[in-house]
Symmetry: C2
Subunit: 152 residues, 2 copies
DNA sequence: ATTAATTATATCGTTCACGATGCAAAGATA
DNA sequence: TATCTTTGCATCGTGAACGATATAATTAAT
């Protein structure tokens, strides 16, 4: 039995599990709003800056168009946004929030603190969450560089 | 604009992205073996202890049967394992590795260190990875407790 | 021993992720 | 201007995740 193949020694498994459980913690808050977690991420981007081309959304979320395009199509179907063709470059699709999509921001503004509290509850220190953030950024930036041939 | 709704302030997004990118880092190693990341997790469990009921696998991976059952079916289809009915409790399905599934352990034993090196490369310190592990365990255990009504 | 409740797993439908491929518009080159 | 390449997005197929529901076997209760 190789020690490095034990489940409890896998950082990847911890990341994978933590990510799933945290997403699951958001679910009860999303359900009444009729959105999913990835849709929430798209909304976060657009609330911060509206009228973006698809490429900008994929870039900010580190996702590819084959994930984002269908995601945006469903959100358009649900009346959260519209996708218009750019006038300057008709290959580009400009994504804009509808009134409904913009209005959701108000309803969502308390969600992060609610989930954050759940996380902080059994947490030794707030400092730990700060360090977590820094470490995750290291991992993300490192892997983004190494995988640029895939995303760029 | 609410600060707590900015993408760069979301721990959840970092976890989600880090998890995806790390999984993606494993992909080149899995492809020649013909397995996926979740299938690798199942193999990790079974390499550690063979002949487990489905419930034990779901429990160790923090996944539900509606995810694991199809996963096991695909792995059985690919000849990595077999699912037999328990004699003592015929509701239970005992999952056992085939020769092919057991043999993959040899081929996989160097994967963790390869990916680990990629991670450690742009990492300030090894200590940081240790703290990450601890923090993720805190999050996982805390959320597992809170979400027990869903998984148990 | 029936009936009722619980448990173990399976099925179904929807929504991601993502590799591979396609296609039309824009830009570069000849 | 014709062609060649690149870019931006879309489509397709497969494999997860997961809520909801179903089914058969075990256990508990009457």
């Amino acid at each position: 039995m190789y020690d490095q193949l034990k489940l409890e020694n896998q950082i990847c498994f911890r990341l994978y599990t933590a990510s799933r459980l945290v997403t699951r913690a958001y679910h009860p808050y999303f359900e009444p709003l009729g959105i999913t977690y990835p849709q929430y991420l798209v909304l976060l981007v657009l609330w911060q800056q509206d009228n973006l081309p698809v490429s900008e959304i994929t870039s900010r979320l580190c996702l590819d168009t084959n994930t984002v395009t269908p995601l945006l199509q469903r959100m358009e179907r649900d009346g959260l946004l519209v996708r218009t063709r750019s006038v300057v470059d008709s290959r580009q699709r400009i994504v804009s929030l509808t009134k409904k999509g913009r209005k959701l921001q108000e309803a969502a503004k308390d969600i992060p603190s609610c989930v954050g509290q759940q996380l902080a509850d059994n947490m030794p220190s707030v400092d730990e969450l700060v360090r977590l953030t820094t470490t995750l950024d290291h991992i993300i930036n490192s892997l983004k560089k190494q995988q640029q041939h895939l995303t760029a």
